[in-house]
Symmetry: C2
Subunit: 269 residues, 2 copies
């Protein structure tokens, strides 16, 4: 599928990379790099291609997230991370929205420069221990008191696994507030078109000159293609062989891993 | 509408009464009896008609609920209250289900005689302060770990008002768990047909010889009619004139209040 010289690798100026499942596999101890990925990132940078990470991570600031990646050997900077919280900040500024935050403590610094007085919307993240009865009622009262409630959700995941067991993810609490307020949340994060557009703006490359590389057939590949990008699926991370028969989404190519994708793209430069 | 001698009042052997909005109006101090309702309850009992209260109350045991009603002058007993928790117990016994409870502390005694070891379902009520992150994750893990998750919800309200402000009701948390587990909850309470059937079983009268009297056009009147009962809407409680143009539900009669309904029914005996 990923034969050299295919048209999909031509005229590329920038790459968007998913992180978990492409750069590293998450695990109990923070994660393990995927073989060849750290070297592939170095080769991208050396080639002059622009590089941006595009992740749905919302339990840490970009600073802490990058610290973890650098400790695993990835030469990336904070400015190279597109994550839901900064994308939400962009949206808040554009629309003059002042959020009430119901998010993880470790994410709060991302909103440091946003005006949060007299809130006219609620931003919901994976708040974890901050999902208390009192905090949920507070967010609900603010929403139901608005003439037109605005609920912005940093992702819509159902649940995830941590070392001490499964946890409800932000999507479950989003559904609770949607039902109580009879409102539909605006989801910031992959696969939202707006989120990929933010990543492209930060990459500084138009969609037709960018390639998204991810392990998620719907959220990475489908979402990027909806924005006019080419998109590759790696056969690492959450990739499953059945993805290759997906009824709706067909990647521009499959590659075994990030290293192979970079091999082919650099040969076409 | 409620003229004497109408057919709807004939051949009655038992009455189901909604409570809030029919017997009393709820308020900050626990509630105020609706004029004539306590006397109407006494007249029903004196007439030999069977009487059952049919309520969606889930923040108190029937014992405490009846204590409140008796303090307001209503001559009713615990056995005369059909509420979601006892109906859920009936359902649990019928299907051999062993619940994990996520409910209000004051409701727990209703489940005293139910086997709760090695749970194979979750019963969700308005747990209020018990809606903690840890408790929600625990209920979720039990559900997602079941081959076929069974979620039983005591009502599906969106929110309600207390003296210190609006609170998320059980329906919001039901939606969170439904989404996370990709399951549909079984709702126990009005307007579920099964709930009215429980009330009729406790009344000991077949549906064609029973009349439901309530203030809620959909949950009381519509639900009861679906079970083959006649149903009256009182013009007290949450009644609104626009209910009389409801597109789907048409009561067998409107009455100004419970006292008027009882006047008419007793004259037909």
């Amino acid at each position: 599928m990923a034969e050299r010289g295919r048209g999909w690798a031509r005229a590329v100026r920038g790459l968007l990379l998913d992180v978990s499942g492409v750069l590293y596999d998450s695990g109990a101890d923070g994660g393990v790099p995927i073989a060849g990925s750290a070297e592939a990132v170095r080769r991208i940078k050396a080639s002059g291609l622009k590089l941006q990470l595009c992740t749905n991570e919302t339990q840490a600031t970009r600073e802490n997230f990058v610290r973890k990646l650098r400790a695993m050997g990835f030469d990336v900077s904070v400015a190279q991370v597109t994550a839901p919280a900064p994308a939400a900040c962009r949206l808040l500024r554009e629309r003059g929205l002042r959020p009430h935050l119901l998010v993880h403590d470790d994410l709060v610094p991302e909103f440091a420069e946003i005006n949060k007085t007299n809130p006219n919307c609620v931003v919901l993240g994976d708040a974890a221990e901050n999902f208390t009865y009192a905090n949920l009622n507070k967010a609900f009262r603010l929403l139901i008191g608005m003439e037109k409630p605005v609920l912005i959700s940093l992702g819509k995941g159902r649940y995830y696994k941590e070392t001490d067991g499964l946890k409800l993810d932000v999507g479950a609490y989003m559904k609770a507030l949607e039902y109580a307020c009879d409102v539909q949340a605006e989801v910031v994060g992959k696969p939202a078109k707006r989120f990929f557009e933010s990543a492209l703006a930060e990459l500084g490359v138009p969609p037709e000159q960018a390639i998204m590389i991810g392990d998620d057939i719907v959220n990475d590949v489908g979402g990027a293609q909806q924005c006019g990008m080419r998109a590759l699926q790696v056969r690492t991370g959450k990739y499953r062989p059945s993805d290759e028969n997906h009824p709706e989404v067909k990647p521009d190519a499959y590659v075994n891993n990030l290293a192979e994708a970079v091999d082919i793209i650099l040969q076409e430069l």
